[in-house]
Structure formats: C-alpha cells, structure tokens
C-alpha cells in the first residue's frame, strides 16, 4: 500500500515545481484545474487514479482551458460593445435628438469634460455606500448567525424582518430625511435598509447548513460551544455569507442613490437629478456609467475577499 502512495508522491511534487516555473500560466489554470480535481477526487476513486500527477488528460486539456478563460474574460467586453452599437443604431434609426438619447460619443465626451465633477460626487456616493454597507455587515451578520443558531429567535424575528423587507424602501426615503436631515445619515440608513436583508439570509442559511457529517465528527470530540462555532459552523457558513454579501453590494449602491434622490446636495444621485433639470442628458448618462463602475468594482472587491477567506470553495472561472 505504501508503495502505491509513495509512487505518486514524486509526481505530485514535480507538478508543484512546474507551478513555480511558469507562475503566470499556472495562475490562469489553477481554478480550472481545481475543478478537475473536485470531479476526480470523489470517494471510491482508487489512489492510482489520483488527480495529483501531471495526468496526460489534464496536460492536453490545458490549452483549451486557457483559451476558455480568455473567452470568459472577453465576453463582458464583447457584450458591452454590442450594447453600445445597438444604442447607436437605435438612436440613428429613430432620429432621436441628444436630449432624449445622447450618442455614446457624447456620453464619453461628457465623462471627459466633467471628470472632476463626477469624481467629487462619485466619492460622496462611494462613501455613503461603503459606510452603509459596513454598518449593514456589522448588524446583519451577527443577527443572521443568531437566527441560524436558534429557531426561537428565527421564529420570533422572521416575521418582523420579512415585514421590514417588504416595505418599499423608496417610500421610506422622505421619512429618513425628516428624522435625520439632509446629511450623510439618511443615505447611510437607506443603504443599510437595502443591503442588510440578503446578508442576514446568507448568514442564517449558512449557519443552518453545517454539513451533518462534519457536525457529528465535531460533536464526537466533545467541543465547547465556542469551539463548535469558531472551528466549524462559522467557517462552514462563510461561502453562503459571501453569497449574501455579493447580492447586498449591488443593492447598497442603489440604496445610496435612492437616498440622494430624496434630498441631497451632493452625490451621483443628486447629479442625475440636477442634469435632468438642465436637460443635460449626456451628464446623467455619464453619472450612470460611474455608478455602474462603482458597483462592479465593489462587487469584485467582495469576490476577491471571498477568494482570500474561502479558498476551499468551488470558484467558477
């Protein structure tokens, strides 16, 4: 038996050395190869079929996999280009003027011309989003964990939370202004209102979904409640917590804009309102572009943090 395992070992090592040899390509391939491993490393596989060695099937699969990742990376760019083309074609076909629908070129021009203005207001919206999102995490993750742990709390709080979530947030915006004034606070509150629900759901379902076999193994070691939580349940919940965080980040940006629509003197939402009033549609579109960029950037930051904290989860390319 030892012979079989030892026989595999040098191969596993040789793969490690090749990883340091061409790190760039290896990085590109890592996640794809991780998937292959997941598929092959099912119980019942004899050790002679381990995925660790430089399996010829994987070696042949390398080039297509690399190309596939290039395709994956270029898909959003191609789609965006097609969208811009469609935009331009529609505008030309219907002969709409620039107040109704500015051309892509005009929006680009406005982005360049108003870069300072957009940066200033963009930073305000970004600040509101990040503060509100951070606050939502601080409130919602512990609450979700408690709900996941205790069915009493779950049953008691769920109706209230459902009710809160069912309230149209836009309708609350004027109230927030009455309560908190025209400063940052009502915007932050709006961000919290929009983003906290998916975070609670993610945390609660993650805590509830501790795999039975892991829980039983852990219990057989007679751990303290704190050990059970920190060493198993919280760690096992992280992938689902991050699903909630990813959904919430897009909602957080929307929350900031809703807050600004209701009454503000700065921020991209404010800028969009003002540019509407002055019929500067190109500027409104430029602000929308910046909002999208903020939203996408924050999303990818969360994704990056997830890969850092949850490297064991199955990350698709």
């Amino acid at each position: 038996m030892n012979g079989v395992v030892n026989g595999r070992r040098p191969e596993a090592k040789s793969q490690d050395s090749s990883a340091s040899g061409n790190a760039g390509l290896q990085d590109e391939l890592r996640s794809a190869e991780g998937n292959t491993r997941l598929e092959t490393a099912v119980p019942g596989e004899p050790p002679t079929q381990q995925p660790l060695g430089p399996d010829p099937a994987i070696a042949i699969g390398r080039i297509p996999l690399f190309e596939r990742r290039l395709v994956v990376a270029s898909l959003p760019l191609i789609a965006t280009a097609l969208f811009v083309l469609l935009w331009w074609v529609v505008k030309q076909a219907y002969g709409w003027n620039d107040v109704i629908l500015p051309s892509p070129g005009r929006v680009l021009g406005s982005l360049a011309k108003n870069s300072q203005l957009l940066t200033k207001h963009g930073l305000v919206t970004l600040q509101e989003t990040v503060l509100g999102y951070g606050l939502a995490i601080l409130i919602a993750v512990p609450l979700g964990v408690i709900i996941g742990y205790s069915w009493v709390v779950d049953k008691a709080l769920s109706p209230i939370l459902m009710g809160l979530n069912a309230v149209p947030k836009v309708a609350v915006a004027p109230l927030l202004i009455i309560w908190m004034g025209f400063g940052l606070e009502p915007k932050i509150a709006m961000v919290v209102l929009l983003s906290f629900f998916p975070i609670i759901l993610g945390a609660a379902s993650g805590i509830k979904a501790t795999p039975d076999d892991l829980a039983e193994m852990m219990r057989s070691l007679d751990p303290s409640a704190a050990q059970m939580f920190l060493k198993l349940r919280l760690r096992a919940a992280l992938p689902q917590i991050f699903v909630g965080l990813q959904v919430a980040i897009a909602l957080a940006v929307i929350g900031a804009v809703i807050g600004e629509f209701a009454g503000a003197t700065k921020g991209l939402g404010y800028l969009i309102t003002v540019s509407g009033g002055t019929a500067d549609t190109a500027l409104a579109f430029a602000a929308l572009v910046i909002l999208s960029v903020i939203s996408i950037a924050l999303y990818y930051i969360i994704l990056g943090v997830e890969r850092l904290l949850v490297p064991w989860a199955d990350h698709r390319p």
């Binding site: 038996m1 030892n2 079989v4 395992v5 030892n6 070992r9 596993a12 090592k13 991780g34 491993r37 997941l38 092959t40 490393a41 099912v42 119980p43 019942g44 596989e45 004899p46 050790p47 002679t48 079929q49 381990q50 995925p51 660790l52 795999p211 076999d213 892991l214 039983e216 193994m217 219990r219 057989s220 070691l221 007679d222 751990p223 050990q227 060493k231 198993l232 760690r235 949850v310 490297p311 064991w312």
Partner: protein, 261 residues
C-alpha cells in the same frame, strides 16, 4: 473483566405522529481490551445507532454503556470515531485536520505535532501534510480521517462503515493498515460493516444483528490469529468457512420467507 460493556441497551425512535420504532432491543455485549469486534447486519438493524450510543452521540432509551468502568453519558476523549464519510474540514490541510482533536482538547506542543507526522507517515501520507482535502483521493481522505481518529491515542476506536465508500483495492489496503495499527497499539475496536468478508477478515468476534427490532442474533468467534490477509491459503479456508456461515445466518430469514411464499 470486560473493558467495554453494553448492558441491556434499547433505543426507541418516535417517527411522525407518535409511531415508535424499536431500533435496538435489549442489546448486551462485552468487549475485552484490545479486542476487535465487528457488527454486521442488514440495513435498519440498528448497528450504526448502537455505535453512536457507545460513542455518546445518541442516548439510549434504556440500559447503558460502560467503558473502562465508567458510564458513557457524552462523547469521551478516550474514544476515537471514524465515519463512512471522511468528514474532513475543507479549509484545513491534512496536518491541521489530523491535529483537530488535540486542538479541541487543548493539547498543544511539539510532541503532538511529531505524533501527527508519525501517524501520517504510517498511513502513507508523508508529503501530503499541506494538501487540502479536495486535493486528495477518496482513499487518501479516509486515511487522513483514520489518523485523526487515532491522534489523541484513544483506547477505543469506533468505526461506522469506514471503508464502504471506497473501491475494493483501497479497501483492502486500509483493512491491512487498520489491522496493523489496532494490533500494535492494542486498540479496542468496534467496527460496523455491511460486508461479510470485511467482518470476518478483521474481527476476533463477529456480532450478527437482525432488524426490527434490532437484536443480537449470534456472536461468531473467528479462530484465526490476527493480523490476517487473504494471501495465506491456510487462513483463507477458515475465513471462507466463517463467511459462509455468516452468509447463511444473514440470509436465513429471506430464505424462510421465500419458502413460505
């Protein structure tokens, strides 16, 4: 003086609206120190439940279990448990997974690390200390699980079909491994299995259980000295005979039912 005593253990599960299922009915079993006992039976005979009662994970409806003179009322630290699934924490490396029981018991230090390395080497896992479970084959994952159940040097090893999900070759490998380890460290082992051959190969005594209610039907001593392999022909014959006896016992009821019909 038996080391592990199962005394009059019964377990009743309540299913749905008050319907009671007799999972185990008055089980009595004495296990000597260092003895290897296998529990065999059809699905639903309560063998896994019995193992969990011994492990302190499930409470008995009646009766009790004693290990080393003290009654089991919760999971114990002188017991190691190994399940059908490897149940490795996916965010921990091989070494970290093996060290988990010690960590939970608050045992730290160099000598424990050395012990972990030694165990991993015995299990043929040197070089994989830093690998994550997803990077290991099913057989290797189960080896890690075996090392984890041994790391705190438990007197008793409880195993619930640990090799059932493995292919035949890996299973034979691990059976040999387990025999060596249990003999060398004088472990008392209770091993649940579906496989007649596995039960006979590993055990000093095979406990045959029957379902509804779960009862001990017969206890068959296997007179062949351990460790055993299927390679020695003089052993093979005795083991084959025991297997066939066991097979007759397990299929008895089905045959009778067929004859009646």
């Amino acid at each position: 003086m038996p080391f592990l005593k199962i005394v009059n253990v019964s377990k009743v599960f309540t299913v749905g609206k008050g319907a009671a299922v007799n999972a185990l009915h008055r089980i009595n079993l004495d296990v000597r120190e260092g003895e290897f006992v296998t529990l065999v039976g059809r699905s639903g005979c309560g063998k896994s439940t019995l193992l969990r009662i011994v492990a302190g994970l499930v409470s008995a409806s009646a009766g009790h279990v004693e290990i080393g003179g003290s009654t089991v009322d919760r999971p114990r630290r002188d017991v190691g448990l190994m399940l059908q699934k490897p149940a490795l924490l996916p965010w921990r490396t091989t070494l970290e997974n093996v060290m988990l029981p010690l960590e939970i018991m608050g045992k730290k230090g160099r000598k424990y690390r050395d012990r972990a390395h030694e165990l991993l080497e015995t299990a043929g896992l040197s070089g994989f200390e830093g690998s994550y479970p997803r990077e290991l084959s099913g057989g290797m994952q189960q080896r890690v699980s075996l090392c984890r159940s041994l790391i705190h040097d438990p007197a008793v090893l409880l195993m619930d079909e640990p090799f059932a999900a493995l292919d035949a070759l890996t299973r034979e490998d691990l059976s040999n491994e387990l025999q060596r380890i249990s003999a060398r460290h004088n472990k008392t082992v209770i091993f649940v299995t579906h496989s007649i051959e596995e039960a006979v190969l590993l055990a000093d005594r095979v406990v045959v259980m029957s379902p509804r209610p779960g009862e001990v039907k017969r206890i068959i001593p296997i007179g062949v000295p351990r460790p055993r392999t299927l390679r020695k022909s003089e052993q093979t014959e005795a083991l084959a005979q025991a297997s066939s006896e066991l097979r007759d016992l397990l299929f008895e009821r089905a045959d009778v039912a067929e004859a009646a019909a």
